[in-house]
Symmetry: C2
Subunit: 222 residues, 2 copies
DNA sequence: AGTATATCCTAACGAACGTTAGTTAGTGAC
DNA sequence: GTCACTAACTAACGTTCGTTAGGATATACT
């Protein structure tokens, strides 16, 4: 146990719906842990095998290559993140402020609940070739577009005020992403606290107005 | 040239004061580029050598090991970042708001000017053993403490208002760090724009008050 | 019982890895 | 001319890598 860890989380888990049954799932979860803790290139197939409790050759009965395992993890990670934020936003009201709160809460929630998945899906994605990474890129783009659209609707309604909208997307996305690296369940802040506080930060970044949800022209207030 | 890059920047450069003369410097700069683009583990000594225009064995005339090269880059990166923010804060006034603006401008400026250095220093640091990484950890801690102290002073003065101060540190630091991954000089926003807008975001996150620099409602200065 | 299938194994392949030993070419001093 | 020094080289070391071939074991069906 070094002082110097890549991320604070120590346990790897997949959603039951994303974890294949039997040894396939154990291999995938072992790969998640190893890739997250040491990085894709530094984790060998022999490492994955011993973490999964099988011999190296056995992995090839479940996945055709090391890169395919990473592709699967990246796909699951981005898919689950998009599903989380999309569900949250759809379940919130029509007010862009509520949608931002829902988005950021779900975004941060994902990064606190599945930190290893987030770290692997985001920081090892560059390894994937264009064919294996294609599915993931589409989803990643959708997540970003969703946030962009919410912000744009808020700007159009005069509820938000930011000089360069795309920078707000980058800032809100960036601060959420980093949570996966330092958050641990036994920390001095709970996941719910982080989600709430970060949702508040996002509203502040967007200079969300206090006025009621009514329709407003392009005039902002101060 | 893949769609799928680890960071947007394409050129590696070191500050003249940090770049050793001759081949040593060329090796260090080649390592910076390779480690940033492909990661420490995925970049081989043969890759570094050919990027630096030398043969693999020659590198060992300049550095004792691959890990020592990374340690040097991490040290330079954190040292330069700390120097930048510290100088900026010391050159600003006593008002915590001015100090935050100075800090974030310098922080973002570092990440736009030396994106590869930032990426390597932050995302490959976990590779370093305790001995080789020790020097870097100290500096990293100092940078974080500086931001924490500014925010705490603003809170004490009643100028800032955040529910959990440490989360503001994490959020402001996180959004700045991510800039290194997407920023490129030929982007549709300039480095100065990003720095200014992000400084504004930081003030908003802290709910900085508009009132003049005098003393505040609830607390007094020392 | 015999066969098919699924699952995991042992053993090893060729390639690439970080690193080292020993050598060669170029330079300036005497 | 030769000595000492520097900086680069060629070649190879032992290890580990991702991956594959082929055999063993257990369960399921006929």
């Amino acid at each position: 146990m070094t002082i110097n860890r890549r991320l604070a989380a120590t346990t790897a888990h997949l959603l039951p719906e994303h974890k294949p049954p039997g040894s396939t799932g154990r291999v995938l979860e072992a790969a998640l842990k190893m890739f997250a803790e040491h990085g894709y290139a530094a984790a060998s197939m022999r490492d994955l095998a011993s973490a999964a409790g099988v011999k190296p050759a056995t992995i090839y009965a479940h996945y055709p290559s090391k890169e395919h395992i990473l592709a699967e993890l990246c796909r699951i990670g981005h898919e689950e993140q998009y599903r989380a934020v999309r569900t949250a936003v759809l379940g919130s009201g029509a007010d862009p402020r509520d949608q931002i709160v829902a988005y950021v809460r779900a975004h941060v929630g994902f990064h606190t609940t599945y930190p290893m998945l987030a770290v692997v899906a985001n920081s090892e994605l560059h390894v994937l070739g264009e064919t294996l990474g294609a599915a993931t890129f589409v989803i990643r783009r959708q997540s970003e577009d969703l946030l962009t659209d919410i912000i744009q609707r808020g700007l159009d309604a005069g509820i938000f005020d930011v000089p360069v909208p795309w920078l707000a997307v980058a800032a809100i996305g960036g601060m959420g992403l980093r949570v996966a690296y330092w958050f641990a369940p036994d920390y001095h802040v709970t996941a719910a606290q982080v989600a709430d506080v970060y949702a508040g930060f996002a509203l502040r970044i967007l200079a969300a107005s206090d006025k009621p949800a009514g329709r407003s022209a392009s005039k902002s207030r101060k």
